[in-house]
């Protein structure tokens, strides 16, 4: 048996801080740079 079932631990809800960050231009600009690099590094693995 190679596949492992990852059991759900708790009912998840986004916090107020999470929701504020999702809509913050400054935070999202910073995340766009981080995620852009992450995507680029993954793409470089295959191109």
């Amino acid at each position: 048996m190679k596949h492992k079932k990852i059991e759900k631990k708790a009912t998840f809800r986004f916090s107020k801080k999470d929701r504020r960050r999702m809509k913050s231009y400054v935070y999202q600009f910073f995340r766009a740079i981080v995620l852009g690099f992450k995507f680029w590094s993954l793409v470089r693995k295959v191109h």
């Binding site: 190679k2 009912t11 998840f12 809800r13 999702m22 809509k23 766009a32 995620l35 995507f39 295959v46």
Partner: protein, 475 residues
């Protein structure tokens, strides 16, 4: 001089043609590439979710193929391939005027995309059924028209139930339906109509956030954040109810009849439904040199072309090395299959059966970036074979990343999308014993940045795939 024929002009076929042309021109010798496609346009399918709620016109997701191929010196035939004779190295095409043509090849890349199998569920689909689809531009345009009809009824004070998800126990592309339900929610919020609508997510996923890829895990500080948590948190915020682990038996004009993995039969009343159908291979018959039908040998039961995968293993036994690498047919070395057209060795998500014997098992998605990578690997392998080498370019789903931007609201200012990255797509427990994936390279987060990415990718891909200047710089 080699003659290469590509059947299909979606992500795998069209990108494969661009790569092939680029590589073959370096070899000289006037090699010939011919692309055969049922339609004369390329469609950027990831943006059809916006067409389905009238936030983008279908034409914005398409471009005509012939001008691109004329520019690059690639032959283009608009037609439907209906027979392949691999021993005799030719295929038969039905042209739009009803005439047929035999096309010879030395190398063949099958990248046909899926046949949308609406017939698998009674009453499914926009043509002969009651539900909508966003799988093709005409379907998405029709879905938008029906959605706007509902919106005008809501504006008059009516209440409604909208059901979005998958229309069969073996359907795939849950991600597209997930994007659609989130966009519908946000559109209704913007119109001030959300309180008049009950939104229901109906899917065959074994767990919320499975998306047909067995879900995902990513690091979030010191915690492990899963796609199940992401979907659960989002649906709670959006007020979306859900029925998962479900197969749709039948749809009529008022109700959707489902069965879940507990063996319970339920009926869901609806006013508007968008349900993704299951996919099967395009109806192409394969014949050997004696005229014997060999379709069942070359293809799997669903009609997808077998390639260099390990077939016959159960989901529990299946591991990374079993996924195809070069996309070469094990029966004919000059034939490759890529994108949705290749037969996967098994599902990524856990397959299940209800107590009544109904199979509820999401098929593995292999669209978009995964299709493009398999098309590229197959094209490069054809080039290697033309040079006299063995195929050595690989793009196994157990070695390549899955990159997905799940749109939730289309807007530069105030938009929202889920940014999802997994590496690799197919879990490889040999390489990554704990999760089957490198979770340091996995991401799942929601925010405006994703909405910016989604829009940027639309324009970047539409530019790249038209082979405009410096297109090769866009990965």
């Amino acid at each position: 001089m080699a003659k290469v024929v590509i059947v299909g002009a979606g992500f795998a076929g069209h990108y494969g043609a661009l790569i092939l042309q680029d590589e073959l021109k370096k070899l000289g010798n006037n090699h010939e590439i011919t692309v055969i496609s049922r339609v004369d346009k390329f469609t950027y399918i990831p943006s059809l979710v916006w067409v389905g709620i009238n936030q983008m016109k279908a034409e914005k997701t398409q471009f005509r193929l012939k001008p691109v191929y004329d520019k690059l010196g690639i032959n283009f035939i608009q037609g439907k391939v209906y027979e392949i004779w691999p021993d005799n190295k030719f295929l038969k095409v039905e042209l739009p005027d009803g005439k047929t043509e035999n096309v010879k090849y030395d190398f063949l890349l099958v990248a046909t995309g899926p046949y949308l199998n609406f017939e698998a569920t009674q009453g499914l689909g926009p043509d002969k059924g009651y539900t909508q689809s966003i799988c093709t531009p005409p379907h998405a345009t029709q879905a938008a028209a029906k959605y706007l009809e509902l919106v005008s009824r809501l504006e008059k004070g009516e209440k409604a139930t909208i059901v979005i998800g998958t229309g069969h126990g073996t359907a795939t592309c849950q991600g597209a339906a997930f994007e659609y339900i989130c966009n519908v929610h946000n559109d209704l919020v913007d119109r001030g109509l959300r309180d008049k609508v009950k939104l229901i997510w109906l899917s065959n996923e074994p767990r919320l956030g499975d998306f047909g890829i067995d879900g995902l895990e990513a690091k979030r500080g010191s915690l492990i954040f899963t796609s199940e948590m992401m979907a659960e948190g989002l649906f709670a915020d959006y007020g979306i109810e859900y029925e998962i682990r479900s197969h749709v038996h039948k749809v009529d004009d008022k109700k959707i009849y489902i069965e879940n993995l507990d063996g319970e039969f339920k009926e869901i009343d609806y006013d508007f439904a968008m349900l993704i159908p299951p996919f099967k291979g395009q109806p192409i018959k394969w014949y050997n040199k004696d005229g014997k039908d060999i379709t069942s040998e070359v293809c799997n039961p669903a009609g997808f072309v077998k390639v260099d995968a390990t077939y016959g293993k159960t989901w529990e036994e299946l591991d990374g090395p079993d996924w195809p690498k070069t996309y070469q047919s094990p029966y004919y070395e000059n034939i490759f299959a890529a994108g949705i057209a290749f037969a996967p060795p098994g599902p990524l998500s856990e397959p299940n059966k209800s107590p009544n014997g109904t199979i509820i098992a999401p098929a593995p998605p292999r669209t978009g970036y995964t299709a493009e990578l398999s098309g590229k690997a197959a094209a490069l392998n054809i080039v290697e074979m033309i040079k006299g080498n063995k195929p050595n370019h690989t793009a196994s789903m157990a070695e390549t990343p899955g990159l997905c931007i799940a749109s939730m609201k289309k807007s530069i200012f105030g938009g929202e999308a889920g940014t999802i990255a997994i590496y690799p797509v197919a879990r490889d427990y040999t390489k990554y014993p704990e999760y089957g994936r490198d979770i340091n390279n996995c991401t799942a987060e929601i925010g405006m940045a994703g909405a910016w990415f989604k829009l940027a990718l639309h324009y970047a891909f539409m530019y790249k795939l038209q082979a405009k200047p410096f297109w090769k710089l866009i990965p």
